[in-house]
């Protein structure tokens, strides 16, 4: 949908998607830390 017109609902959904992206990033970081912890334990 072009930028000049977006429904309020779709704008809200896009804002929600952005929040979900942040959540995804944070969860990935948690996993990454877990991986590092696991590797260092093995060594």
């Amino acid at each position: 949908m072009p930028n000049e017109i977006k429904s309020k609902k779709i704008k809200k959904l896009q804002a929600m998607k952005q929040k979900l992206d942040i959540v995804e990033e944070k969860l990935k970081k948690i996993d990454l830390i877990e991986k590092i912890k696991s590797n260092s334990t093995k060594q």
């Binding site: 949908m1 072009p2 000049e4 017109i5 977006k6 429904s7 309020k8 609902k9 779709i10 809200k12 959904l13 896009q14 804002a15 929600m16 998607k17 929040k19 979900l20 942040i22 959540v23 995804e24 944070k26 969860l27 970081k29 948690i30 830390i33 877990e34 912890k37």
Partner: protein, 303 residues
């Protein structure tokens, strides 16, 4: 009864060219009062059958345009819900006893929980939202609000925007038309707003003929005429009837808006019985109940 069919064609054309934003804009203009007042403005000699057919066509069209919006929202909402549920599950997993999270992980997890709580509230308030509202560049530039838009604008905007010209061109063209109209009729813009579209359309054609060398204006007129011709043709009516019937048999609903997108070859294809019995794509798409005809011919990954 010509006016509503013309509107119908213009709206289809906007969707045909994937100009969903303008189509949605038209959808807002095309409210129930406009429809009712347009019906009342029809000539008295219109037959009951014709009026019934007209109302039926308008209803189907309205539904089709509405569907575009609903599908877009539906897809986005489903995607948000799916991700939301997945991440909530992930949080539950992380919180299980035995998971030895360090401080950094605990901090990240608490941040995640805060955002997910916000999202949960967002989703609840989203469900209770009232009717969708739109704002367009066109309306902003014209300093117009939704309540000021008349049914006249419905057809006018559609015709002017049919070829995806830019907003400034549309405003300029409309301004030229209004000047011409006022000179021709000695009427004010208010009276133009009130005229039925079946009066407006021939006037618009006449106006366009004043600019035989203006390629954009002529293209606008040509496209509008072409759409009108197709919508009113018996072939279109027959094909549309056939596809609607098939879709009903399969348990789906026809998304009329994409109808005109089909090429001649595709139109031929969907007339054949073989196509309907072998097309697994249709059966898959019917899972969402509403189907765009153009999607039948597109690869699966288009969804």
């Amino acid at each position: 009864m010509f006016n509503k069919k013309q509107n119908l064609g213009c709206f289809f054309s906007l969707i045909k060219t994937n100009n969903f934003s303008l189509a949605l804009e038209q959808r807002i203009i095309f409210n129930k009062q406009d429809i009712e007042s347009s019906f009342q403005a029809l000539p008295e000699n219109i037959t009951k059958d014709n009026l019934k057919n007209l109302k039926n066509k308008v209803g189907k069209f309205d539904e089709a345009v509405d569907t575009v919006l609903q599908l877009k929202e539906k897809e986005m909402l489903q995607s948000v819900k799916d991700k939301f549920n997945t991440y909530n599950e992930k949080v539950k997993e992380l919180e299980k006893p035995g998971n030895d999270l360090n401080n950094q992980q605990k901090l990240l997890l608490s941040e995640v929980k805060i955002i997910l709580k916000e999202l949960s509230e967002d989703l609840s308030s989203f469900a209770s939202d009232k009717k969708v509202e739109f704002k367009s560049e066109y309306l902003e530039k014209k300093n117009m609000t939704m309540d000021k838009i008349s049914s006249y604008s419905l057809f006018k905007n559609a015709v002017f925007t049919i070829n995806k010209f830019n907003v400034n061109f549309l405003i300029e063209l409309e301004s030229k038309f209004i000047d011409w109209w006022n000179k021709k009729t000695n009427n004010s813009i208010e009276s133009l707003e009130k005229i039925p579209n079946h009066v407006f359309y021939p006037s618009f054609q006449e106006f366009c003929l004043q600019y035989p060398k203006d390629k954009k204006i002529q293209k606008t007129l040509k496209t509008a005429n072409k759409i009108m011709t197709e919508i009113l043709s018996p072939e279109f009516q027959v094909l549309h009837g056939h596809v609607s019937k098939k879709m009903k048999e399969l348990g789906g609903r026809l998304h009329m808006s994409s109808y005109l997108i089909l090429s001649q070859e595709q139109k031929k294809l969907i007339k054949s019985e073989k196509f309907w019995t072998n097309c697994s794509q249709i059966k898959d798409d019917l899972n969402i109940n509403i189907i765009s005809l153009d999607r039948i011919f597109q690869p699966k990954n288009h969804k």
